[in-house]
């Protein structure tokens, strides 16, 4: 099997591994780096659970190859919080009970961070539009939308 050596910056640390050509980025994060916070739901780009930030932009890690991430900087859910605390988006999801089973949460957090970076004060419609690629099968969308609005407040307050 053909393998390639890649170096990826994940949550600020440089990680070098030799990986098979066909290894998915999601499986690289989970199995090679043991960063199991990135969840694989559908595995073919529909549910959004595996969404991570690649060079700051949300991407489905189940639809990328690990070799394609060579040289990239990736942020997973494990890299969001400052030591001993929570990222404002995590804080808001916690306060407003915006998760039930939590399986979809890492993807929602990534999509929310991208949204709030570009639009610090989104309307409910804008939030729902920005999150339509993330599916919550507990269907806790009402609290998720509230939490995004709360996160926007927290982040605007700095």
């Amino acid at each position: 099997m053909s393998t390639v050596e890649i170096t990826v910056t994940v949550n600020g640390s440089s990680r070098t591994r030799r990986v098979p050509d066909r290894l998915l980025l999601a499986d690289f994060l989970r199995h090679e780096l043991r960063l199991t916070g990135t969840h694989v739901g559908c595995g073919h780009g529909v549910c959004g659970a595996c969404t991570v930030l690649v060079d700051g932009a949300t991407m489905r890690s189940c639809l990328m190859l690990a070799v394609q991430a060579d040289g990239a900087s990736i942020t997973t859910v494990e890299g969001l919080a400052p030591p001993g605390g929570l990222h404002p988006v995590q804080q808001a999801f916690h306060e407003l009970h915006a998760l039930q089973c939590g399986f979809c949460t890492p993807g929602f957090l990534a999509s929310t961070i991208e949204l709030l970076r570009e639009n610090p004060d989104p309307s409910e419609t804008e939030i729902r539009e920005a999150l339509h690629g993330n599916i919550c099968r507990c269907t806790g969308y009402v609290n998720i939308v509230k939490a995004v609005r709360r996160a926007a407040e927290l982040m605007r307050a700095g």
Binding site: H44, T51, A57, R60, M64, L65, Q68, E114, L115, H132
Partner: protein, 291 residues
């Protein structure tokens, strides 16, 4: 590992990519943004021996207007196309339609060339390419050719591209001054796969009538189609609701929309009638008539 085994090749130039395609033409796929092909691979519905990955290939992501033509490099990401000032100026219909092309994470990675080359029947990009008389540039070792989108799309997921060819550019003639566009779509959920969609580019005449009209539909057949009969019936006329409705109904009566789990043919036709009427009247600057 979910995808079948393949060799991953990452060319740095179009020439290098074309050489790789020629060498492995018996079992090769071009990998662009991967938002469709990666899903086909993990479901093992595609099993190429070699993937030629264009993500590190130089010279494929320019977006520019030159000589009256909007030139979109095949690897321009959908989000970049959607936001490019050149697209807003030359072909705002494409920016409007790409809003529906999927969630943000998909548009961050998905490319305009990948959408065209994949030729999905529900593709907004393919529908707009047909509507705006786009041309598709194909490169192969030692040469390139260009063809009308109308000739490039052959069937659902089938195009005129040969295995050793790759799409390098989409060319869209800049819309005539004063042309107004509208894109309307219905899916199970917003930005989910389109069940029905309509793209319209309408150039008004000085007297307020329709000087030129182009209409393309998603869901009217097995692949996006131009609704030539609507265009013919309304050219030179005024966009009056009754007239538009009759033209749309007559054209769609001749189409064979697919029936599937999402919608029956009759439902698709009914939805398309409403979308087409709404889109044409919106492009004409007229209010939609009360139902």
């Amino acid at each position: 590992m979910k995808p079948p085994p393949f060799r991953h090749l990452a060319p740095r130039s179009i020439e290098e990519a074309c050489d790789m395609l020629a060498e492995h033409a018996d079992s090769v796929r071009v990998l662009a943004g991967g938002q469709s092909l990666m899903a086909l691979l993990v479901m093992r519905m595609a099993r190429p021996a070699v993937l030629v990955d264009l993500n590190r290939c130089a010279g494929l992501d320019d977006i520019a207007v030159e000589g009256g033509v909007l030139r979109l490099g095949a690897m321009a990401r959908q989000i970049a196309v959607q936001r490019a000032p050149a697209v807003a100026q030359a072909a705002p219909l494409l920016a409007e339609a790409l809003h529906w092309a999927g969630p943000r994470a998909v548009r961050n990675r998905g490319t305009i060339g990948g959408s065209i080359a994949h030729a999905d029947p529900s593709s907004e990009a393919c529908c707009v390419a047909l509507c705006l008389d786009a041309r598709v540039v194909l490169a192969r070792r030692g040469g390139s050719r260009e063809m009308a989108a109308r000739d490039f799309f052959r069937d659902a997921l089938v195009t005129a591209a040969e295995p050793e060819e790759m799409v390098t550019e989409i060319r869209i003639p800049v819309l005539p001054p004063g042309t107004r566009c509208a894109f309307e779509e219905v899916g199970v959920r917003q930005a989910d796969l389109a069940m029905a969609g309509i793209a319209v580019a309408l150039t008004p005449a000085p007297d307020g009538g329709i000087a030129a009209l182009r209409v393309a539909a998603i869901g009217a057949g097995g692949l996006p189609l131009r609704l030539d009969a609507v265009e013919g019936a309304l050219r030179g006329r005024r966009a009056e609701p009754g007239l538009v409705r009759d033209a749309v109904r007559a054209a769609l009566a001749e189409c064979e929309p697919p029936s599937d789990l999402v919608a029956s043919a009759a439902h698709r036709r009914a939805v398309l009638e409403g979308l087409a009427e709404r889109a044409i009247l919106r492009a004409a600057g007229a209010e939609r008539a009360a139902a």
